[in-house]
Symmetry: C2
Subunit: 515 residues, 2 copies
């Protein structure tokens, strides 16, 4: 057995169920080995940012790593921005990156680069395998690294000779370390904060926003009058009618400050202290009021569910205690001219049960989460690292992971163009993704930030650098060019109808919404 | 004056004539400063791989650096693959990368990353500016680094507070160090090799393939019966009727070996020893015969023109000695069904005087260089680092640099999809680029490499990972979606006609050639 075979079989045996890839010459033996690993689904992307973003979306839904297969340093670099987002999302991921054969490196051939150096800023674990005999073991250790709580990016670099030489050995299924519980002191402190009767919020992240963790948090909220919050950089939350009511902290500084000013205590469950995305010359980066006491009940990598259960026990809240839940509430499908509230209402009116919403409509989509809180239960995935161009790839991964569910991908003309190649993969794989492109013809976030700097309006040359409306991007043509049928809508009725058709049909569709 | 203003004015004063950018929030003060730097042309890209590839194309033609302006670590990473190509091309480039304000870094906000770590594998020089007062000086030093022979990638990281604080000072126009001459010993050794009467080739790179260097090499070739070669990873060569005859070493191993086996001596002028792109289990990576004597007349960073002049002098070749030149030779425009030789002949028949050909048609385009050697004088730019997705961005940069010349961009469906967003920038800037997309619906290079590994034909799952024909990419729609008109051609007459229309019209066009 060659090294490539041992690598792929070790991954498959450890339940790595999908490989997202854009391979090159130095990975051909691994491609050959994938041919025989029929339990692993292989998905091709035409650009590596699609590959890494899709592996992220897959992991968010499955809670186990997918692997990527990338071509040398430049292929890895192309995937870097969405690896940044995935690292910030605390998802598990195993990147397999090809390297020149060991004897070839001395020649400094054109594609030679410092792959470990490229990998390190985006990875929690990096290793270059030394021989075919070690590749299986290295893969197993990469999986352990990836699955170590709260979820990590593991990058294994595979020299071509390690892949093609004989002597490969499949590693045993690795033992994944359990996340440790926080200290009793930490739990008791959170309990005493919740008993103090002050306005308090629990800021949840990771598994604390899924099923059992979320239910435990919802019981604590109901019993203590605490509010549940989620960070703006949101990996995944389960939400909708009957599920615990969680408010996401807004992106806009003033809105975030306004939400948080009401709290005297903030208990973090896997989440970071909420701060601004960007500094501003005239204000603090902190969003919480100065007199707010902040305590990390569970730090990233600790056992969030265990911590919430222990906190419930400390507060004597039973497993069947009531949950602070959202009421079922759907607006009627709206009609008339396109408005942002109208678009949000249309989505809320028709979102199917069990949908997965991928959200990167940064400016145009801000009202949609509030509008859909009473819709049937669904998942919501956000941009976790602030690097735009994640939504379409994330939708690919979520749809590959959950074949029977409907994915709604909310993107925009600015963010969508970074990784538009994802549409082709959606068409190829027949993924049930309804893509909405909010086309405001501008980098609206930047226009807002520019105005907020207090240096006046942008002059004509600066304004050009924030304007993406000349020429107009025609998303219907772009979609068709990649095999995704679509339409442009100019009324709310047409938008709701196109959404419904997308949710009911087979394969991907695209809806361009000029704004 | 704030730091941003001092940065931009220092760049403009040092003849950095273009800024290719995809900016973000942390770069808004620099965008504001660019508004006033009217001598610098600002060009927006929708994806950073377009930005860095365009800066490369600009520098190849102008022989001075453009700057890029990129958003934090992920923006830089998105530009990394084409930075790899640019570093390998030995072109000068100054990257300006935004960083969070210094006081904001402590919060580990979502977009925080190790920007220096991301920059280092792709840069010859990296610095984070420490204060507004140092930004002008840092920019000047970045320019010196970029322009130090043979041309380098300099990356200057600018914290937002260094940009927005007062205290900026424009730096004096920097002194660029002259490239040193090789030693007399090196020149004399090359002269004695050329006098030995053995089959000899000069392998040229960098400026040795432009104007005066090329003329000097052409005189040496004519006087000594030496052959002139260029590396497959080709930054830029001036070629065509009346210009020195230079043969590019082929990409295909067997063809390269076949070309080089005739030489007993190889003299390098700025070029690296020719080696395979990739290792193969059963063969050496070296392309020259074992008994070939190899001597570097000039190493990268030395003065190639000076070295060639000194070599001419040592060989007593006068400045007016004859040049080994290409004869003018145009095939008639071909007709009939599409064939690869027919496509090459059509290009040779209609290529305009002074064209700039950007070449990344890796499989389909191999015959075009031979067919066009007798066409009117033109420049030829290749992929230098092997990371595909360079052609469309490179064409943007070359067209921005040379407004009065025609650019022919030869790309393919596989390579074109990595950075197709470049089409939008072409349309926006009204660039005279005729884009030819050879659509073979496959990663043909990989299919060939897979078959060459001796592990049999790819099985069905592996074959899927090399096939990009399902769904079919419709490049005419993709182009139109980004504002570039185009057509699909199915005969050689139609191809030649579409080429001619592209060369004669205003703005970009696209021709899809299904194969």
């Amino acid at each position: 057995m060659n090294g490539a075979e041992s690598l792929v079989r070790t991954l498959a045996a450890a339940e790595v169920g999908a490989c997202f890839t854009n391979p090159g010459t130095s990975e051909m033996h691994i491609v050959a080995a994938l041919d025989r690993a029929t339990q692993m689904r292989c998905v091709l992307g035409l650009f590596e940012g699609v590959v890494t973003g899709a592996a992220d979306g897959y992991a968010r839904m499955v809670e186990k790593p997918a692997c990527t297969l990338l071509h040398l340093g430049p292929g890895l670099a192309n995937g870097g921005a969405n690896l940044h987002n995935a690292r910030r999302a605390h998802v598990p991921m195993v990147n397999i990156v090809g390297q020149h054969a060991t004897a070839h490196l001395q020649y400094d051939a054109p594609l030679t680069s410092d792959i470990e150096g490229i990998a390190r800023p985006f990875s929690n674990w990096v290793r270059t395998s030394r021989a075919s005999s070690e590749l299986g073991r290295d893969a197993a250790e990469a999986i352990v690294a990836a699955r170590t709580a709260p979820g990590q990016i593991a990058t294994l670099i595979v020299p071509a000779d390690a892949a093609w030489n004989d002597g490969g050995a499949i590693a045993a299924k690795p033992m994944i370390p359990k996340a440790p519980l926080p200290s009793n002191e930490s739990i008791n402190r959170a309990a005493s904060m919740l008993r103090a009767g002050l306005p308090t919020a629990l800021l949840l992240a990771g598994g604390a926003l899924h099923s059992e963790g979320l239910a435990a948090a919802g019981r604590i909220a109901a019993a203590t009058d605490a509010r549940l919050l989620a960070p703006y950089p949101l990996t995944r939350v389960q939400r909708g009618a009957g599920l615990p009511s969680v408010q996401r902290i807004p992106y806009i500084h003033e809105q975030a400050v306004d939400l948080l000013k009401g709290f005297r205590q903030l208990i973090l469950v896997g989440a970071a202290v909420p701060v601004d995305y960007f500094a501003h010359p005239d204000r603090s980066s902190e969003l919480t009021p100065p007199d707010c006491e902040i305590h990390a009940l569970a730090k990233p990598g600790e056992d969030y569910l265990g911590a919430l259960d222990a906190l419930s026990a400390a507060l004597s809240i039973g497993n069947n205690a009531p949950i602070l839940a959202e009421k079922a509430e759907r607006p009627p499908a709206p009609a008339g001219e396109i408005t942002l509230p109208g678009l949000a209402a249309a989505i809320a009116a028709v979102l199917p049960d069990g949908a997965i919403v991928v959200d990167e409509a940064m400016t145009s989509g801000r009202g949609i989460m509030a509008a859909t809180k009473g819709a049937p239960p669904h998942d919501w995935l956000g941009n976790t690292g602030g690097s735009i161009g994640i939504a379409l790839p994330l939708a690919v991964g979520a749809a590959v992971a959950c074949r029977t569910r409907r994915v709604l991908c909310l993107t925009a003309d600015g963010s969508g163009m970074y990784t538009a190649q994802a549409l082709w993969t959606m068409a190829r794989e027949g993924l049930n993704v309804t893509n909405v492109v909010f086309a405001n013809r501008t980098y609206a976030v930047l226009q807002r930030e520019f105005l907020g700097l207090g240096i006046g309006a942008p002059g004509p040359r600066a304004a050009e650098l924030l304007d993406i409306g000349r020429p107009t991007l025609d998303w219907v043509q772009l979609g068709k060019g990649m095999g995704v049928p679509g339409s442009r809508v100019t009324s709310l009725e047409a938008f709701a109808k196109a959404l419904t058709q997308g949710f009911e049909g087979d394969g991907p569709t695209l809806i361009e919404v000029p704004l």
